[in-house]
């Protein structure tokens, strides 16, 4: 019988909590947000319940011996489990350098913004193709955003590597290794657009720009 403090009420944290509870341990889960699920909840249609062993709205900032230091005081136990495994790739790991105009969001940010009821844009490109990308794509398109998903991995249906992000204020264009790329908004002058020579140069031309 041990008292276990788990940081994070995502899939990992909750699974560990269940197993440890079944083994007869006392479990306390600390969660930063007001809901469980972490990055695994990409829809709001989860069942709200009463879980006395989860403390919501508690942000852990440090681990001090056998105690977790949070903004709501210290939570001590015999064992502390960090279940905050999910993280996005950083700019350097992605290999996309340069400054970031507005409109470039990490998965968590995009997810949370959608959850809070805001639209992150009219068209979106999700870079990377895993479960979370799929979930986010579904969530965004439910909110009326035109979404394209591609990534550099071999399992991606649409394969492309982003080389550069362009745009001075808001993100305007994404340059990939497959030539001149997905256009989020036209950078070209209007005359070029009417002439039509620059159309259909993307990976998938958004329907609004279709030449047909």
């Amino acid at each position: 019988m041990a008292r276990v403090v788990i940081i994070g009420a995502g899939l990992g944290g909750l699974y560990a909590a269940e197993k440890l509870h079944d083994a007869g341990h006392e479990v306390l889960v600390l969660e930063r947000l007001e809901r469980p699920g972490g990055v695994w909840i990409l829809h709001e249609d989860y069942e709200a319940g009463d879980w006395p062993w989860i403390r919501f709205g508690v942000t852990a900032t440090a681990i001090d011996g056998k105690c977790v230091v949070t903004d709501r005081g210290r939570f001590c136990g015999d064992v502390i489990i960090e279940a905050m495994g999910f993280r996005e790739k950083r700019p350097a790991e992605l290999g996309i350098f340069g400054t970031r105009p507005a409109g470039v969001f990490a998965l968590w940010t995009a997810m949370r913004m959608t959850e809070l009821g805001w639209r992150i844009g009219r068209r979106a490109v999700i870079y990377g193709c895993n479960k979370w990308a799929e979930g986010l794509a579904r969530q965004l398109s439910d909110g009326g955003v035109y979404v394209e998903v591609f990534g550099p991995s071999f399992w991606c249906r649409e394969r492309a590597t982003i080389k550069e992000l362009r745009g001075s204020e808001r993100l305007a264009q994404i340059v990939t290794d497959r030539g001149f790329s997905t256009l989020i908004r036209w950078l070209l002058p209007r005359s070029c657009r009417i002439a039509g020579w620059a159309l259909r140069i993307g990976l998938a031309t958004p329907p609004l720009l279709s030449t047909t």
Binding site: T61, D71, R90, P91, A102, E169
Partner: protein, 163 residues
């Protein structure tokens, strides 16, 4: 770069860089900091990285150089020390331990853009690169400024964040 500098860091292959910077900076021909006055301008060259740390010492030389140019010296009243931010409430940024109160206070004092608020506290520069706090900061800002989130910009102009 990895080949050249990898040997200086232990376990380089397993490190995940948070951010990579590159840039050009002038080097002083003498190998030391060069303080030179031309006309009514004083140049401080080749400070390299310790420019910020060395600033209080460099200022003394600059003042001497300016006095040499015949500029009048005035004594200014000291600026009041900045009021510290009160820390209370929920921790919004757990990489830097920034609380909700601090963000609200920053918006009330001066910060009007998302980058402004985040740069003030070093948010977005920790291991999560701002992915966990950006949406929350935007929410707090829109509440504090009394505007819709779509009116809050990243750095002004057309840098809107959400619709």
């Amino acid at each position: 770069m990895v080949e050249m500098y990898g040997k200086y860091l232990r376990d380089f292959e397993n490190l995940t860089p948070v951010k990579i910077f590159a840039g050009n900076r002038p080097l002083s021909p003498t190998g030391d900091v060069l303080i030179k006055s031309t006309g009514r301008t004083v140049h401080i060259l080749g400070t390299e990285s310790p420019a910020f740390t060395g600033a209080p010492a460099l200022v003394e030389d600059v003042v001497k150089a300016l006095e040499g140019l015949g500029l009048p010296k005035r004594k200014l009243g000291g600026l009041p020390p900045p009021k510290p931010y009160a820390r209370c409430g929920r921790v919004v940024c757990f990489c830097r331990g920034v609380t909700e109160c601090e963000i609200r206070e920053a918006v009330r004092r001066v910060s009007r853009t998302l980058d402004g608020v985040m740069a003030r506290f070093g948010m977005g520069m920790g291991p999560c690169q701002g992915s966990r706090c950006m949406a929350e900061v935007l929410k707090i800002m829109s509440e504090e400024l009394g505007v819709e989130p779509r009116e809050v910009t990243k750095f002004g102009g057309g840098s809107w964040l959400v619709l």
